[in-house]
Symmetry: C2
Amino acid sequence: MRESLTGNLLIAQSGGPTAAINSSVSGIIVEAKQQSKVGSIYGAVNGILGVLNEELVDLRQEQSSTISMLRKTPSAALGSCRYQLCEDDYSRLLQVFVAHDISYFLYAGGNDSMDTAHKVAQLASERNYGLNVIGVPKTVDNDLMVTDHCPGYGSVARFNAIAVRDSGLDTEAIYTTDTVKIIETMGRDSGWITASTALGKDGVDSAPHLIYLPERPFVTTRFLADVKSIYDRLGRVVICVCEGLRDEKGEFVKASAKQVDTDKFGHAQLGGVGDYLVNLVSENLKIKARCDKPGTIQRVSMTCASQIDLDEAYLVGQVAISQAVAGESDKMVTLIRKSNEPYQCETGIVELEKVALRTKKVPNEFISKESNFVSKQFLEYAKPLIGGPLAEYAHLVRKTVERRLSARS
Amino acid sequence: MRESLTGNLLIAQSGGPTAAINSSVSGIIVEAKQQSKVGSIYGAVNGILGVLNEELVDLRQEQSSTISMLRKTPSAALGSCRYQLCEDDYSRLLQVFVAHDISYFLYAGGNDSMDTAHKVAQLASERNYGLNVIGVPKTVDNDLMVTDHCPGYGSVARFNAIAVRDSGLDTEAIYTTDTVKIIETMGRDSGWITASTALGKDGVDSAPHLIYLPERPFVTTRFLADVKSIYDRLGRVVICVCEGLRDEKGEFVKASAKQVDTDKFGHAQLGGVGDYLVNLVSENLKIKARCDKPGTIQRVSMTCASQIDLDEAYLVGQVAISQAVAGESDKMVTLIRKSNEPYQCETGIVELEKVALRTKKVPNEFISKESNFVSKQFLEYAKPLIGGPLAEYAHLVRKTVERRLSARS
């Protein structure tokens, strides 16, 4: 641990917005105000770009009611970016840190952002500039190494569990016409988000019926057989797929660019994997299918946010600044699960280089052996993260009235 | 008004599921139990198909806690259908009504279902069978004639207002990479649902920025000019479009079937209007765009339901059975707005033939003169229906820290 510094704090947010990342910023600010070694509290507008552009805002000027309300405000209040540092940027970054007497730099984001934070920490160290850099984990993708899970994930998981349960009831009601429903979730490289839809399943025959993750190659014949088997049994199928699904050759499962190019009318862009599978089912099984794709709505839904997620996001923010002031640097705060029932989590800390640019995939034991659903272990892992049970719905017993006529001809 | 009947009640649900249609069924059952002239209370499984197939369930056997919970259960608990009656069906229907001594038939649905109800009422009348038929309005599309609005609409409107507000914050945060967002809502023939996204706009520069309804022909050049104009001013654009958008020739705005057919690789199905516009923007304006398409999730979201909508759905159910028992038939219950502030609505009743198969479009005065947004009058009309204001979010004042360096080179 480095010697303890005194100076200003700079906070920045990066990558895809979430329901919980502002809660982390709220936790950082509230805790920073308690720390006598922290002078000014600055925010960079649009992540590291705001540092490069010297676009800083003074967060001590915000009302405390605003800071408190950040705990319930989705997206990224300071603005975000996706930006990879290039060689020319380093001197500029250091200039900005020096000019504003920054001693603490906190960066909230995913594995790319942790790489940026790591590079900033190394730069400061090489140039002998006293800067404590701490990464604040944030990603709906839940794919950061070492930490048990990532703030942002519990909320997107709750959104998807609710959406798929509701949408499953929809299919159950109208299966006489809308028979197959495909729900495409986010997740470019890992299937954590798609897997979370299983938390919406509240009965053996209820949705989702099939779940496909990018951790397993997508095999068309097996997929069609899976769909047909459920369809033959129930007359309806709800299928959740990851936008990042890949085939056995490692290529994204969607109508390929080649197909589009051959279209002499020009440049029509085919839909993603959801639309592709709708077509596959319609063509091959002659069953009507449709696709829902909540897109970015899923990652910033505050109405469906997990309270546990919001609270943990706040906590990692608090811990991040405490650790920075205590002298830690080039580290990321982690969550460590202590027990599952009752659910208890503590924070820890890990070197940024163990997290930067790496992706935690959904492990084998969380995927069903048929590769078309999740396992019981996954449900045990994910259930506490969504912050309590879903709302209870009515289920009619549907006591049959005795027939008085012969069957309809 | 016909003479008053005594006998059994049959309830059925039809068309697309909603957040509110079960609330109507709950209202019907609770009220029916108060009516001494109502004997058994039956439900038909999957709408008129359940009548034809004599698949009836006894709703007096359900626990009253279940009936009460229907007020908060989305989709269609009795099952739904999309089925057009054919000539052969009429005798069968009458057989079923006679066999089960049905005196009251209540059908919840949209304009197709009101046509079915109308035909059933006419059939009974022609054959001198005593049957009082009342239509219970239900459609997220909000396109039934005569009634001020339709149960189901307030909830889908609230979902979309919330989704677009949240998703707009997302774009605001990450506009440095995700610049244009297109949100495709439901609505085949009318733009009521798409229009409701405007209720999510909480500032002059906040989302949505552009709204396109099927009531106006879509003109590509004008659309691109609209998008560019907002982009040049704000650096980001959130656009809400209706799945049923049509061009000047009346054809759906999406990559046409012809394009797909010319693809020698076969039968790839292009996405809908949202994906099409993503491509249009990327190709012509060279700006990165993405599409969210909540699909059926929007119509069955209980988490985002409007309490006013759920309550009105319950009320029209109660009124439907009261009117049937009082001797009305071949009618639909309507909602009549008495005042806007405070919002007050009463019920009325109208002949089914004035509603059947007709579509109420969004009127001219509800659409902006540029045809790319809604008017103030629309907002006044729709605002009370979503059941109270959206949750408050934090807005940072972002007090700028004075620059100490020259601009980044």
